[in-house]
């Protein structure tokens, strides 16, 4: 399953809830969710820890818009909208953690 997160991890618990819920699949960080993919963020260690079981992606245009594309956490794959479409197609279901 593809877990889509659009909230900053310091504003809402979406990321932590997903990390505790999802056993496999992928996380795609979009909109304000991309802040979770930046190094130095308080959730960095937890995100890296999850990378053993979950693939982590972040939407490039959202990183760019927020001026944080140069500080993406190691191990996070940056994708464009076309990559977003591919991720949705590759996973049987997607869930947006609004």
């Amino acid at each position: 399953m593809l877990h889509i997160i659009n909230k900053s991890p310091l504003d809402r618990p979406s990321l932590d809830t997903v990390l505790q819920t999802a056993a496999s699949g992928a996380i795609l960080l979009i909109e304000d969710g991309v802040y979770a993919a930046t190094c130095g963020n308080a959730v960095e260690a937890r995100l890296k820890n999850a990378m053993g079981t979950l693939k982590v992606y972040a939407l490039g245009p959202d990183l760019d818009a927020r001026g944080v594309a140069d500080r993406v956490t190691e191990g996070v794959t940056v994708v464009g909208y076309d990559g977003f479409v591919d991720l949705v197609a590759e996973h049987k279901t997607s869930q947006s953690w609004l």
Binding site: M1, P13, Q20, T21, A22, A23, G25, L98
Partner: protein, 121 residues
């Protein structure tokens, strides 16, 4: 339309503060009317939707606690509540307005994986 899919509605928002809980229920009822295999999950602040004893007169909004009780009439009987979310809010099943199945978070993840359509409100 004979296809039956497994629909899971994930409720993660508290009632009244925003409209999501109420409008999610409306989708659930339509999903049941289409004779789909409907389940509901309650996580994070969504567990507050099921807290019994809503008294909405003072805020001038229509209460919809009764709708959860009526779900059974629509053959919607699979209500799963995230244990960790309940514990974090000091709630127990006795605090809820309908019978539910308490589920550890990891099992909730497995439940989600089994679905055809997941709509999260």
């Amino acid at each position: 339309m004979s296809t039956i899919k497994k629909f899971l509605f994930v409720n993660r928002k508290a009632p009244y503060g925003t409209v999501y809980a109420l409008e999610s229920l409306e989708v659930v009822l339509i999903g049941a009317a289409f004779e789909q295999d409907v389940s509901l999950a309650f996580m994070d602040d969504g567990v507050y939707q099921l807290k019994k004893g809503h008294q909405t007169k003072g805020i001038g909004m229509k209460g919809f606690e009764k709708t959860y009780g009526a779900l059974e009439d629509y053959d919607v009987t699979k209500l799963y509540v995230d244990q960790e979310s309940m514990a974090a809010r000091g709630l127990t099943p006795d605090d809820l307005c309908v019978p539910v199945e308490m589920m550890p978070r990891a099992d909730m993840g497995k439940l989600m994986e089994e679905q055809d359509v997941v709509l999260s409100f």
